[in-house]
Subunit: 639 residues, 2 copies
Amino acid sequence: MIGALITTGAIDFLVQEYTYLAVFSAVFTVILGVTVDLQEMSVKDSPTNAPYTAIAFLIGSLTSILAGYIGMRIAVYTNTRTTYGCCEDTHIGFQSAFRGGQVLGFVLVGLALLVLELIMICFKATWFDGAFDALNKPTEEQTAELVRRLFELVAGYGLGGSSVALFGRVGGGIYTKAADVGADLVGKTLKDLREDDPSNPGTIADNVGDNVGDIAGMGADLFGSLAESTCAALVVSSTSYELIMQPDALYFPLMITSAGIIASFFSVLLAECSRVTEANVQTVLKLQLLYSTVIMSVFLIPVVSLLPVTFSLPGHDDISQWTAYGCILFGLWSGMIIGFSTEYYTSNAYGPTLYLVKNCEQGPAPNVIQGLALGYLSCIIPIGCLTATIGFSFKTCGMYGIGLSALGMLGSLPVALTIDGYGPIADNAGGIAEMSGLPPRIREQTDALDAAGNTTAAIGKGFAIGSACLVGLALFGAFNTRVNATEVDILSPVPFCGLMVGAMLPYAFSAMTMKAVGDAANEMMEFIKEDFARTSEIKRANKDAGRAEHEGAEPNYQKCISISTQASLKMMIAPGALVLLSPLVAGFVFGPQAVAGLLAGIIVSGIQVAISASNTGGAWDNCKKEIEKQRQDMMKEAR
Amino acid sequence: MIGALITTGAIDFLVQEYTYLAVFSAVFTVILGVTVDLQEMSVKDSPTNAPYTAIAFLIGSLTSILAGYIGMRIAVYTNTRTTYGCCEDTHIGFQSAFRGGQVLGFVLVGLALLVLELIMICFKATWFDGAFDALNKPTEEQTAELVRRLFELVAGYGLGGSSVALFGRVGGGIYTKAADVGADLVGKTLKDLREDDPSNPGTIADNVGDNVGDIAGMGADLFGSLAESTCAALVVSSTSYELIMQPDALYFPLMITSAGIIASFFSVLLAECSRVTEANVQTVLKLQLLYSTVIMSVFLIPVVSLLPVTFSLPGHDDISQWTAYGCILFGLWSGMIIGFSTEYYTSNAYGPTLYLVKNCEQGPAPNVIQGLALGYLSCIIPIGCLTATIGFSFKTCGMYGIGLSALGMLGSLPVALTIDGYGPIADNAGGIAEMSGLPPRIREQTDALDAAGNTTAAIGKGFAIGSACLVGLALFGAFNTRVNATEVDILSPVPFCGLMVGAMLPYAFSAMTMKAVGDAANEMMEFIKEDFARTSEIKRANKDAGRAEHEGAEPNYQKCISISTQASLKMMIAPGALVLLSPLVAGFVFGPQAVAGLLAGIIVSGIQVAISASNTGGAWDNCKKEIEKQRQDMMKEAR
């Protein structure tokens, strides 16, 4: 029954959200068709591009929506099975949740790759072959130009994926956090209820939120990153004559992701072979990241031989295939280090979060100060890794190197998504156990699974942020190539002002989303208090009348779901528009140099805000769990 | 008695801090003498520079120390007088505090200008005239080169001022916040004492902190900004041939500050003429900023005529004197808008903070979410103003324009320091009233003065941050001129990596200082709890023995002061070293382009962190005061 409520709530929200997004995608598709596709044609006086970019964009959006939807369906299907599994044994519960995550990870990455491949085959058969024939025995140079333009048309796919991801992430994020904060605060602080107590009307919304935010939103987000980085790498590789002449080499970026899928396959096999208990579940999940990284490093060696022994790119001569391998490795291993550093800062197994726990003894204020300091401090290692990766890749292979390192980092994406999707599934399984009134022993098992999931979800976020930085930079490079900007000099007024404003935008964006979460959570808390008063009244009346206490005293789950849904749909528009419009305004008013400055500012400032906020939040979350655990242990000892 | 305790505590701390700083300055002076001064000579084979930069640096450090010390002495002297004043009338209390602030503002700005003037006169009489004679009838070009080098030697003054300011601000900041958090939290949350209750041993440390952090630290900080921006403007103006040929024009930057002093003089006169009551005190203080800005805009008109009608700078021909006036005005008015925007976001008279108050009804969590969102949101207006100022000044007059706009913003510095210094004085006056057991009526008057001071202190911080951004940019320009970097291209790996790491440094810095505050506050809370237990024990024993209750139950103020002192002196070293060493390391390992990227990253990221943190903090502080006020009002009504 509870599983069904969650499923219905999640589907309701996604249907509404995707209706908005479908309209948005349709409008944007037309805009792209009219501006980008038609403009290209009129400028170049060669075979029409219309409406290929638009089509690619539309397919990208739809695939992203599909990816989110599939992820959500898998998650809500697996929730209940995990709870049942825990009734038998921790290992079986773990397997359900972990396999749910696997389906999410492999389906999503596979889908991204498959659809991209299909688009390329179709575009090749129609646009490319048509253009090729029209030119009547084109020269090699003309062929190269056609390939370059083919990839630019395909790049619409990445844009579509990440546009939908933007709204999916923001809308889903507001939903999940509003419900989480609202339900938790009123439940714990004001009414002293247990988390997921069924008489709290906000619990279902909280569980729905885990699915639409952390599963559908995160899935769409990482889908967008993968699609963007593959497209960016393809566009850049088409600027190299040697690569174009050798199709295997040209499609090398796709092979990186394929190698990642196979490597991830072997690593999850290793997890399947181990016997999971409450004690080792966190280790099993963590090791996944290490396994996939090591296996992929080996698997890439034969794949790299697809590249010419040496090749050149504009501005970079004689790049060895092993240098390209180096770029991929830098990305891959940086991703792993970022993941583990995130874990170090946010898990309650290590110093930083335990120190936070100790600080809570003095009340909330030291916790806030030290929590923010922890998040700020946690920027150092990831920024160091990213800087090293960017420095090496950029220096040796230019923007192609950045694209490769982004793909390298995303190579372990199937595994990252597996352990990331595992978290909300285990979380929900706990919720279902509590709400279904199963014995405390089951809840303890789901809690153990959930605690491990909290940390791995933080790893997933670190991963998403790191790859977003590299992808953003690769797109920044693509933009500059496209507008023929050979330099962006911050000793000139326009780029510097762009940099200033760009560095501010992540703050404006975060302010909007945080305010949205706060406001929606407030609204929910007000309602929960009212609803609680109403049900208490009914229960009292029932008691007086000698009826069964709970008769007619059902908490109003539906209203809480609708508060979160309405708030997130309404409030995702402003931050989304800020992201989409600010580069356009900067470009039309101040020109491409302003946009370049703006983008650079957004990247370098946004990554700090993202890492620090994500880790502060993760540490606070686990700090709360640790204190609850300590309190329970103390109560047990007292008994 | 209490005034004396505060004075002793403050002097003790400053003596210890300044001992460290004197050693640091001496070492750095020698380093500068050996590296900069001697190197210049060996490169250019002309009259020796040694040890002029070193001397200027040493004088700058000492002046900064002196400025901080004078400010602190004035403040502790005025504290008690303000309390006495409030015994008579709010107006008289206000006058004492306000005049204390005035002395701080005018002495500090006057001192900065006077010492700089003296250095220039001395250096001209010795180094310049010597070099001039040695060249034996030098050409005009050689003379211009000598002037340029004279100003570079003088620029050591700015470096000295801001090096000391760095440590003064960090050390003082850790001191005041650790004492504030420690005393407040344990006093309010754990023991339910009133703020400044004399039986809380942390109160004296808290009051000392106001003086060493908000007065001495802030004074040294703004002194550093003023000295730096004047020196930067002088160095840049010496690259213009027309300006060098016309001494009045060359010294124009000094005239801007002088005009500001006179304009500020008239605006404080206007405040002296108005009758201050509890109701209008905030308005009187706020209007100061408007008055000084308007008056200075007018006063600058005759001053601008000192500049040639048109002049040229490298890369900028035919600059009209009115364009230069425009740069100054942009800075001046931006400063005012930033000040008022800060007030809007942090004062409990306006929506944002009142909304925060409303959110506190749901507990601390929504307050944290909305408070952070408020700070993030408050970046938009200041960044908009600064970007407009930088865009206009940079585009029309290059780095000279940036220097002028920085000086324009600092033009109202005497008034800004007056209202900024007023805050801690009024705050301390309230503390003294409480601790001396004066009647509640007096405390209400000091509270009214204090509440107004809280907001104006926030204005002062906004001001300091905005001018620091412009000064930082001017120095960034000076650095690039000096290393002959004509461009910093963020499409190259090295500057981009510098930018990434630079954007991270403010986070690392903030993490260190916040952790220092949290740790020191914790230590203090632990001690206060112990001490409270001790005195309670004695009081109980006294009661049992029929003695006077307080006999021998003096709280251990001294220990709290020493905890704050030790913590801040120990913990200011790491963040200070981070700031000083990171550009050096980047420069030696990766070259000047890395430093340029690093500096740009620090500026654009640091300003966002600074504004958001300062305004979140200010809003939280006033939110607390508002809730206390509402609670008191409710209790009064209940009676």
